[in-house]
């Protein structure tokens, strides 16, 4: 799919006519022009982020100077310090988000893998019906579920606690689908050989399938983690106390309380975005693969 650049620019063999050489350099020029164009457009795409970061270091007077000051005249760290200190600090929000996202993700990956193996590899009564019910649940918009979940959590006493996000977060129908797809693609000869050796499903699952599925599990983990980290809607509905706030809620809270401090707002937004950018840079390959795979094959 991706060719190293060198093969495209390879010098032509001696017997190739001159016209072909000209064609090659023509495509080369076209490639350079296209690269410049696409880079320009890409720069436009990430402009909001660049503006955000640069504004977070500006002095208040420079926020809206035009033409845009991309590089602040002096580095003002005070806005970032404000975000990370004080009563409602981003350190708390980070810890809350990290706790919720990590526990939810670990639970979701494990529970999805288990169920996906059941759906993909074991013949049992009612499997197709159950799978159809799972399928139909994907159509139900979150709005349908908010009110009943709110009432349920109130009743059980986990409303306005992290459990209200963690417990439902451990169950992802998307995860079951994605991993089922993957398990179906593992050749059945592998487990048949193990069956003959006397291994049961549990053993095959833990010893054979899970190790094989590592890339798929990593993909699901990264995608799921980013969902939990960015999840604003659930936190909005189920959390009230400020010390329980996750990063998106904390961000909203900061902006409500500092709505004229534009530099502070951008420092807060930067704090909200940086972790996902790091996760993305580290797990880029998995994220892109997972997103592409789930849509095209699913």
């Amino acid at each position: 799919m991706e060719k190293p650049i060198a093969t495209n620019a390879k010098p032509t063999a001696p017997h190739v006519p001159k016209g072909k050489v000209r064609m090659e350099s023509l495509t080369q020029i076209r490639k350079i022009i296209l690269t410049i164009l696409m880079s320009g457009f890409a720069l436009l795409m990430i402009m909001p982020f660049i503006w955000m970061i640069s504004t977070s270091f500006k002095s208040p007077a420079d926020v809206f100077t035009y033409p845009i000051q991309w590089i602040p005249s002096s580095l003002n760290w005070e806005h970032h310090i404000k975000v990370w200190s004080g009563a409602d600090t981003f350190a708390t929000y980070y810890l809350n988000s990290l706790k919720i996202s990590l526990i939810s993700t670990i639970g979701a990956v494990f529970l999805s893998a288990f169920a996906a193996y059941g759906f993909a590899r074991i013949q049992f009564k009612g499997r197709e019906t159950l799978f159809l019910i799972y399928l139909s649940m994907m159509m139900v918009p979150p709005q349908v579920l908010f009110v009943p979940k709110f009432l349920m959590f109130e009743w059980v006493g986990i409303y306005n606690t992290h459990w209200a996000l963690i417990l439902p977060g451990m169950f992802t129908i998307f995860g079951v689908f994605m991993l089922r797809q993957f398990f179906l693609s593992v050749p059945s000869e592998i487990s048949e050989a193990a069956f003959i050796d006397g291994a049961g499903h549990l053993r095959i699952f833990f010893r054979l399938i899970l190790p094989l599925a590592k890339p798929a599990l990593a993909t699901l983990a990264i995608i799921d983690f980013s969902w939990h980290w960015n999840d604003y809607e659930n936190a909005l509905v189920f959390l009230i106390d400020k010390d329980l706030y996750t990063v998106p809620l904390g961000l909203q809270n900061f902006i409500l309380e500092n709505n004229v401090d534009y530099n502070g707002m951008m420092a807060a937004a930067t704090a909200g975005i940086i972790p996902m950018i790091i996760v993305f840079l580290v797990g880029q390959h998995y994220i892109i693969q997972g997103v592409a795979g789930s849509a095209v094959k699913g």
Binding site: M45, I273, V296
Partner: protein, 293 residues
């Protein structure tokens, strides 16, 4: 022996899906059923009594002017989906082969999609600032004397949200298109070239038809994804100014958790479900007929 083997298999099957199924039952199926019941009641949070009101909520919805406004805003919101797809297709074709730094560029385009919706909402809020924001600064710079008021005006606010959403979804659409483009056999494109097709013709007559299943899939899933979303709008405008950015999904949230009209909110949420259902059926039928694989 065979029968007992089947039984054992069934038990094992339930053992494997059991843990997940408990959660799906608790957090999806039971709430969905309960919400269906709430639709026929006048349940208000903290109110002493709840009555069964039959179809009153649905009748109320159909006569509610705000519901109409929310529905219209939702359709304007959905316009972002095809626009974002169109741009994504162009980017994907350009990035597919004939460009340097493929990987880096791909990552840059994809970046908005993985970032927190709330954070970018606030960045765009400032970018769209009507009197001195950078976007209007630029528009004035190129000679537009009276640029739009964007998020602060009722006639532009929904389009401003569209712009943000187009930007947000572009990377996602591009990745899916790229995956589809890489499935296209090299020979087909080569053959078109040998037949003397210009790049534009190749794209229109060879590539575009070949990715039509992807286009269809992206359109439907994009519409579903968009129609469910309200986080970005809640964060930027809370549905204002006026009700100019109140989309259906936000309208449900407001009714449930601002006015505590939970029975009514349940009814509207099932209307939302009905729309999603239509898209899903279209996707299902489309897989069979409309799209040629």
């Amino acid at each position: 022996m065979h029968k007992s083997w089947m039984k054992r298999q069934s038990r094992l099957g339930y053992l494997f899906i059991g843990p997940n199924m408990i959660g799906v039952l608790l957090f999806f199926i039971i709430p969905a059923v309960y919400s269906f019941y709430l639709m026929f009641t006048d349940y208000k949070f903290m109110s002493p009594e709840t009555h069964f009101v039959g179809l009153d909520n649905i009748r109320r919805m159909l006569n509610d002017d705000l519901f109409g406004v929310a529905l219209r805003n939702t359709f304007v919101f959905l316009l972002a989906v095809p626009v974002s797809m169109g741009l994504a297709f162009i980017v994907a074709v350009a990035l597919n082969k004939s460009v340097y730094w493929q990987k880096t560029l791909r990552a840059l385009y994809f970046m908005p999609y993985i970032t927190s919706g709330v954070a970018i909402a606030f960045v765009w809020m400032l970018l769209f600032q009507p009197t001195s924001g950078p976007i209007n600064g630029f528009l004035r710079g190129i000679g537009i004397a009276n640029p739009p008021g964007w998020l602060s005006t009722t006639e532009w606010s929904m389009y401003a949200i569209d712009i943000i959403w187009i930007w947000f979804m572009l990377g996602y659409n591009m990745i899916i298109y790229l995956a589809a483009l890489q499935e296209i056999p090299e020979e087909l494109v080569e053959a078109a070239k040998i037949d003397g097709a210009r790049p534009w013709q190749t794209i229109r007559q060879v590539i575009w038809p070949l990715v039509s299943p992807t286009t269809f899939l992206l359109l439907i899933t994009g519409l579903i994804m968009t129609i469910k979303n309200f986080g970005i709008i809640q964060a930027i405008t809370q549905g204002g100014p006026g009700n100019s950015t109140t989309v259906l999904s936000l309208f449900i949230y407001q009714n449930a958790f601002r006015y505590y009209e939970m029975g009514y909110a349940a009814a509207i949420s099932w209307a939302l479900f009905a729309i999603i259902m239509v898209f899903t059926v279209m996707q299902w039928l489309g897989q069979k007929r409309w799209v040629h694989y």
